[in-house]
Amino acid sequence: MAAVATCGSGAGTTGSAVATASKSNVTSFQRRGPRASGTNDSGPRLVSIAGTRPSVRNGQLLVSTGLPALDQLLGGGLAIGTVLLIEEDKYNIYSPLLFKCFLAEGIVNGHTLLVASAKEDPANILQELPAPLLDDNSKKEFDEDVYNHKTPESNIKMKIAWRYQLLPKMEQIGPVSSRFGHYYDASKRIPQELIEASNWHGFFLPEKISSTLKVEPCSLTPGYIKLLQFIQNIIYEERFDGSNPQKKQRNVLRIGIQNLGSPLWGDDICCAENGSNSHSLTKFLYVLRGLLRTSLSACIITMPTHLIQNKAIIARITNLSDTVIGLESFIGSERETNPLYKDYHGLIHIRQIPRLNNLICDESDVKDLAFKLKRKLFTIEWVQDNYLRQERNIYPPGFSYLLKQKDSAWGEGSLQHSTFLMSFLAKATAFASRLVRHSEPLKQTGSGRIHQAAGPRLWHDGRRQEAPGLLGIPP
């Protein structure tokens, strides 16, 4: 942020300097070269583009991903100039929804869109975008929708562990700022006039490429080359790279690439373990990231990583992308019948968060995130029973089974529970302290101060006084 320098009040020799300073509005630093805009304000000029906001942690300009819960997990949003890679779920049901929410957010904020796909025509993709929830009436419906799905068990207020209820919920169902992050209704389509009012470019691979092109080895597949050229042209023509400083109103380009790496793009990493073009996708990501870093754009890519045969390529792809999220749906897996997951449709794994101008990354400390697609809304939550699962880490396995029984006398707050807890933890502490005492020498001499292990109330004259109570009597 530009600091506004004021010239200090000095002696008379600086009087003329003061006079010139007051003429040029406060600062005595003269700008070299012509001013870009002839406005009077010489204070710090922030870039203010619709739909973006600076991150509170590292100052990066962020755009919303279309899902406020996901924005929260990524530390506020997706930084401009980065790639969000979504690893598709096995039957490709939920990842298109994230893709479409990202594009819909771009339309609502007035950003330019670039949609690339080898499977569907981009015009069809845009027709199927979800409708935004913009007015308060629909917001109220959505709130009711959320609260109606609470299970009866979760309505029992916890009396002892009441602090767990104060934990913040994942969804901020409060007033969402209308400029950043909107909610979308997955059951309705976006109104046609919004699509027509928006500026979008589509790239549909079967139209752009003829099938008789010869593929050179060790090079990008022709589909990828065409896509990179297309993106570069759009960035250059519409001045997203800042090549035209006179333009006042800047905009963000949102790029969406669907099913990258699938055989429909001409890439065979899903078909063979050591294909002829195994470096094609990694080169593509590298060049794409270079294009993004030099322009005001953000990109979302969905990739069927469950089909990629060579696991080393997946690791390379993760390193080459900035933010990586994996979706794992429960359909067809044994977790579908697991009672822990009965309310959810799948797990969401945050595999990587970038370190942008930072030494540490913004990783959230919650590891077990699950998503569910309700009739209208896609929500991300902690897997419930967090409290009991934490207990399972301390207690022997049979005990937590007893705890979970309905109307159990061993529920939290009961005498049995607390007695067991005290004796169990005391035994654990005593065991640990017994280990500590084994390292002491048997004889306690006056000069042996450094050899004596740290224990309670150790006196310099060699006498030790044991704390009464739970710890055992020394031999």
């Binding site: 025509d121 099938s211 699938s262 429909l264 899903c270 078909c271 469950h306 089909l307 007893l402």
Partner: protein, 316 residues
């Protein structure tokens, strides 16, 4: 392989997805193996669509035309349009009836037709095509063929296209099979037990949950399908009727359940950290014994009893 309700219900209620496989359109993948061959099912489906009046094209690559047409009656044989790539796959004889572009060229030529109407293309085998063509080219061609009817802006209305592909699972690694099954709208895996064949049908509709069903069937010599109930359901291995399930909550040495009185008492207990009005009153009321409580402390040899505050020296 799960037996869903559809297979267990009576035949009259739901004939199952095997009958309506072709009605969904798109790519239907028939995965067979050495023990359970799929060509007879392919021929049965071809016969069914021919009888429905659809146009049927066969790309025969793996077996000869005579062998494929064997078993069909002449009515059906006249309706089939057979493209033979078995006799001369590399087009060495250079006759004018050979189609240019190989099997893929034939596929594209079929799709460039102008008459509207449902069409079924049977690929005799996808395995042969996978072994002779790069996988990506084949996937792109199949996608272009099977999604032709989904483009709204076409100049002429094109009917529904179904592509039936026979894939021998053991010939390919997980890569090509996974790539093809992600493209397919319906996937039929053949299996069975004790001489009875079953088809596990996985139907992927776009943007919907995939539905799967297992259908037991057999095929008559004239290639018509016979849907069956399936073998008698054997007792599941995990629920043995002789041993009742063990309830771990019996024979415990402690009390696990609360009686109603105990639960009321538990609910009405005021916990120590809960601030209620009685507690507030108790705290506000001056306690009678307050003046008489003392703290007795004996200092150790090492205790510093200097009353001065060491921070007084600081001059802030």
């Amino acid at each position: 392989v799960t037996l869903s309700e559809g297979a267990r219900a009576g035949i009259g209620r739901e004939l199952g997805m095997l009958d309506s496989l072709l009605s969904f359109g798109g790519l239907v993948l028939l995965r067979d193996s050495v023990e359970w061959e799929g060509r007879s099912l392919l021929k049965a489906l071809v016969k069914k669509s021919a009888l429905c009046g659809e146009q049927v094209h066969i790309l025969g690559c793996e077996v000869s035309e005579e062998e494929f047409r064997e078993g069909f009656d002449s009515d059906i044989n006249n309706r089939l349009v057979y493209h033979d790539f078995f006799r001369d796959p590399l087009n060495w004889s250079k006759t004018e009836e050979a189609l240019p572009g190989g099997p893929l060229g034939a596929l594209r030529a079929i799709c460039k037709r102008t008459d509207p109407g449902p069409i079924t293309i049977a690929l005799d085998s996808l395995s042969w095509l996978l072994l002779h063509l790069p996988c990506t080219t084949l996937c792109q061609a199949l996608h272009a063929v099977s999604h032709q009817d989904s483009c709204p802006g076409d100049s002429f209305p094109v009917g529904k296209v179904s592509v039936l592909g026979l894939l021998h699972e053991e010939l390919h690694g997980p890569g090509p099979v996974g790539a093809l099954s992600s493209l397919a709208q319906t996937e039929v895996t053949l299996g069975g037990t004790k001489g009875q064949a079953s088809a596990h049908i996985l139907c992927r509709r776009p943007r919907q949950r995939p539905t799967d069903q297992t259908q037991w069937f057999s095929i008559f010599p004239d290639f018509s399908l016979d849907l069956q109930e399936g073998p008698s359901v054997e007792s599941q291995p995990y629920s043995d009727p002789h041993i009742p399930p063990v309830d771990p909550t019996t024979h415990l040495t402690f009390n696990l359940h609360l009686s109603k009185k105990e639960r009321e008492a538990k609910d009405s207990l005021i916990l120590p950290f809960q601030f209620s009005s009685e507690k507030q009153q108790a705290l506000l009321r001056p306690r009678p014994g307050q003046a008489t409580s003392h703290i007795f402390y004996e200092p150790d040899a090492y205790d510093d009893l200097d009353q001065e505050d060491p921070d007084d020296d600081l001059d802030i």
